[in-house]
């Protein structure tokens, strides 16, 4: 196979097929002071891709609050690190694998999990939990069912054998994601402070080692490849799909953590997107050093690989390690125990250059800084408020007739896949591995893990309602952060850090860029107001199919701390005759709600207005109530509104409820409105007085709604009319059967 010459690359504009713009190509020529060769253009093209360089989102990241007392590592490393006391820290991050999952759902999701875990243990932390946030089209579509089953199987097929429990997640089904599903994975790790390790190639003369799986041609025939001249060689036609090997990942986790614990490692970095190129360049540019490697020494899975291919390969389960000079043999011995290759391929230099040799021949030579995120160009695009908003915001609720009975609507909501029980999903995940899962999937708004050897626990959640963000990117994004925090608080945890996953369409479209801007502003404002620092995140842009962008879908992963694990909370009703109450401000906004979707299909209206001051007070009050053991359950009101929230607490506790809605107004809004800042609690009647005083002291309304009963579920409106009447068994059936019956 013949690579194009520097001259041909320029004359035939080959950089274009690699995804670079003319201006970017010119910038490369200027930086190098010469024409780049094929390997060099390839390296720039992948590192300057949106995925690696955050060209559109980086200028907006400045809006995020990133500091706080507990922050040990904010954005900029592989994952954020937050102190939880007792010498322990929690490491976490979210990442998307949308495009690979759309092509091959099983491997796309599996490698998403694998890549996310590597970001965690590269920090020296043992991965203790994984979560996922998924978006699909509607399940009546055969292709969607295939994607959905494949993604779930892939998450299970990778997460289970590596021994990391998948403890939570969220799934929405909506036409807007039919052609472009979203697969975001969050991983959480635990590390002693003294073992926190960074991805920095320091110490001139220190060796550089490649460890883990051999390098193959995975991923390089992808978007950034695509060059007609190269494909007459049949080998080059290899598919772009990367496959994962959880077995090797498990060995890699153990070997890397053992090497770090042995004090052998100066810096370590996983090879994610853009493989060897990004790992070497990131490690060097963080340390202000250079790296010299000889690709002929890299263990290879296939014969005849070129420097271009080796540098760009996205083979999974590989890491780059800079050990202390004296520790090379030690590192080799540790990896040999696990049967993994660990090979010195180069060394750290002091001149800031990435120099790639192929045996004796220099194959590429570029300044590390220029390749890195800091050196990549950034773009601030033109922003324009999308026209659809005029139509959606003008939606008139009075076009929908009021009803006298809403029992069927409630059952239909519980039967809608977005709201329905996700047991079919999480039963496929080993959520009990490692023996820390105190609050399991399905038991509360967030999962709770204990920290062995302490009294502590952490709660973890992921949230992101794309429909609300679509209807108002700023308000919707405030709501995403507020809901994630509220979910943690409902388990008794205080939020201590967040990571975001930005899933948007093509940012070169002014409407999409506007959504992006507004949304980041919303996330940032909410994070600042609720005092939850952002420790990192991920952006996935260009999520479109047939020219239609997805709903703008920012996802927030959040971690909370429970100082005393005995003071944790779940969402099920516990005993008959307990008081059911609303903690928070009454609301009945139907804009963007699941109920409205049931009635009109397309997202309509304005999303609930978020009042961050109230939200803060509510969350403080709820935490205080849990810590003083005043409540027996807490469940935040989200999709499906108050009625679905109470129904879920009934189903989980296998108990009924008698509820009187004390407010005037449209019944549908009172039952199914998704106004934020509301938590349904249940209370022992003897604690009612004390709880009322507590709520009042935080300035938060507490409204008595009714009581827990044995099995009837009845909602009565202010005029004493029954508007819902059913049994917990009927609710349960609708809620539990929704997914299995659609998946066959």
């Amino acid at each position: 196979m013949k690579e194009p010459t520097p001259q041909e690359i320029r004359d035939e504009k080959i950089w274009q097929s690699l995804g670079l713009t003319e201006a970017e190509y010119e910038q490369i020529c200027k930086t190098l002071g010469r024409l780049p060769n094929y390997t060099e253009v390839g390296m720039y093209s992948v590192l300057w891709s949106e995925h690696c360089a955050y060209k559109h989102t980086r200028p907006l990241f400045k809006l995020f609050p990133t500091t706080g007392e507990r922050i040990i590592q904010g954005p900029g490393e592989n994952a954020g690190v937050v102190d939880i006391g007792d010498g322990w820290a929690v490491v976490f991050k979210i990442e998307s694998h949308n495009h690979p999952s759309a092509i091959e759902p099983y491997q796309g999701a599996a490698t998403g999990v694998g890549g996310m875990l590597r970001d965690i243990f590269t920090m020296g932390a043992r991965p203790i939990a994984a979560l996922n946030s998924l978006r699909f089209g509607e399940l009546d579509d055969e292709r969607v069912r295939y994607l959905f089953k494949g993604v779930i199987a892939g998450i299970a097929g990778y997460g289970n054998p590596v021994g990391v429990p998948t403890v939570g997640g969220e799934i929405y089904f909506d036409r807007g994601y039919t052609g472009n599903p979203l697969v975001n994975v969050m991983a959480v790790g635990l590390v002693r402070h003294e073992l926190i390790t960074r991805a920095s190639a320091s110490g001139v003369g220190n060796p550089v080692m490649v460890v883990g799986a051999p390098t193959g041609r995975d991923g390089i025939a992808g978007a950034s490849f695509a060059s007609g001249e190269l494909t007459d060689d049949s080998e080059a036609k290899s598919p772009t799909v990367q496959a994962g090997d959880p077995f090797v990942e498990k060995l890699l986790i153990e070997a890397c953590l053992e090497a770090i614990e042995a004090g052998a490692v100066v810096g370590i970095q996983d090879m994610g997107a853009a493989g060897l190129t990004s790992s070497s360049c990131e490690m060097a540019s963080r340390a202000g050093s250079g790296i010299e490697i000889d690709v002929s020494l890299v263990p290879q899975r296939e014969p005849g690989m070129t420097p271009f291919e080796i540098m760009l390969s996205e083979s999974q389960e590989r890491m780059l390690i800079v050990p202390r000079k004296e520790a090379v043999e030690r590192v080799k011995a540790i990896f040999a125990k696990y049967g993994l290759p660990a090979v010195v391929v180069g060394k750290v230099t002091d001149d800031g250059m990435i120099r790639v040799y192929n045996g004796p021949n220099l194959a590429a030579e570029v300044p590390a800084k220029s390749l890195s995120t800091d050196g990549a160009p950034t773009y601030v695009r033109q922003a324009k408020r999308p026209a659809y908003l005029d139509q959606t915001q003008a939606f008139d609720l009075s076009t929908i007739p009021e009803q006298t009975d809403y029992t069927t609507d409630l059952l239909n909501l519980l039967d809608s896949p977005t709201i329905a029980s996700k047991q079919w999903v999480y039963r496929q995940f080993d959520y009990l591995a490692q023996m820390n899962t105190v609050v399991a999937p399905g038991d509360a708004d967030a999962a709770v893990l204990r920290i062995k050897g302490t009294k502590k626990g952490i709660a973890v959640t992921v949230d992101g309602n794309g429909r609300m963000v679509y209807l108002d990117p700023y308000q919707g994004s405030l709501g995403v952060v507020a809901e994630a925090a509220r979910n943690l608080v409902c388990t008794g945890a205080e939020p201590i850090g967040l990571t975001d996953g930005l899933n948007f369409g093509n940012p070169e479209k002014p409407e999409v860029y506007w959504q992006l801007q507004q949304s980041i502003q919303g996330l940032a404002d909410a994070a600042r107001e609720l005092a939850i620092p952002v420790t990192g995140g991920n952006a996935s842009l260009y999520n479109e199919s047939s020219g239609q962008p997805i709903y703008p879908t920012p996802i927030v992963g959040m971690v909370g701390l429970i100082e005393d694990i005995d003071l944790r909370m779940t969402s099920s009703f516990k005993d008959t005759d307990d008081v059911i109450a609303l903690l928070g401000w009454p609301g009945s906004e139907l804009g963007g709600s699941e109920w409205l979707k049931l009635k009109v299909g397309e997202p309509q209206g304005k999303p609930p207005v978020i009042n961050l001051g109230r939200e803060k007070a509510l969350q403080k009050a709820c935490l205080a109530a849990i810590r003083r053991r005043l409540i027996k359950s807490a469940h935040d009101i989200s999709e499906g509104g108050l009625a679905v929230c109470i129904a879920e607490s009934c189903i989980q506790g296998n108990l009924g409820a008698e509820v009187q809605l004390p407010w005037p107004g449209r019944i549908d809004g009172l039952l199914f409105g998704e106004s934020a800042g509301r938590i349904i609690v249940s209370v022992d009647p003897t604690k009612w007085e004390e709880l009322s005083e507590l709520a009042a002291s935080y300035g938060v309304p507490l409204v008595r709604l009714g009581r827990v009963t044995a099995n009837k579920v009845v909602f009565t409106c202010a005029q004493d009319q029954q508007v819902v009447s059913t049994t917990v068994a009927s609710l349960k059936k609708a809620w539990e059967q929704a997914l299995p019956k659609r998946l066959g």
């Binding site: 799909v241 990367q242 090997d245």
Partner: protein, 86 residues
């Protein structure tokens, strides 16, 4: 009646970790003569069809639509007529 014996294998270049694990294990057990291993699925379908051509075209369609994942897998098959059972 025909019997279709269908082999579904990974496309070249797609990582086959299972095959590697089997090859390693064979070599540990002293099967040092083993050079390469590949793992796939074997699917046997008994179907009715008037002619071998008709059967072949249906089996090919099953492969495309259901039995193999076109992104990562290849499939091939052989057909045998089953006498006296139709």
């Amino acid at each position: 009646m025909f019997k279709a014996e269908i082999k579904v294998t990974l496309k070249p270049g797609v990582l086959d970790p299972q095959a590697k694990a089997i090859a390693d294990s064979l070599s540990v057990q002293g099967f040092s003569e083993v050079d390469a291993v590949r793992v796939g699925k074997y699917i046997e379908v008994i179907l009715e069809a008037d002619t071998a051509e008709a059967a072949a075209s249906r089996v090919a369609e099953m492969g495309r639509r259901l039995l193999a994942n076109p992104v990562t897998e290849n499939f091939s098959f052989t057909l045998t007529p089953l006498e006296g059972e139709a």
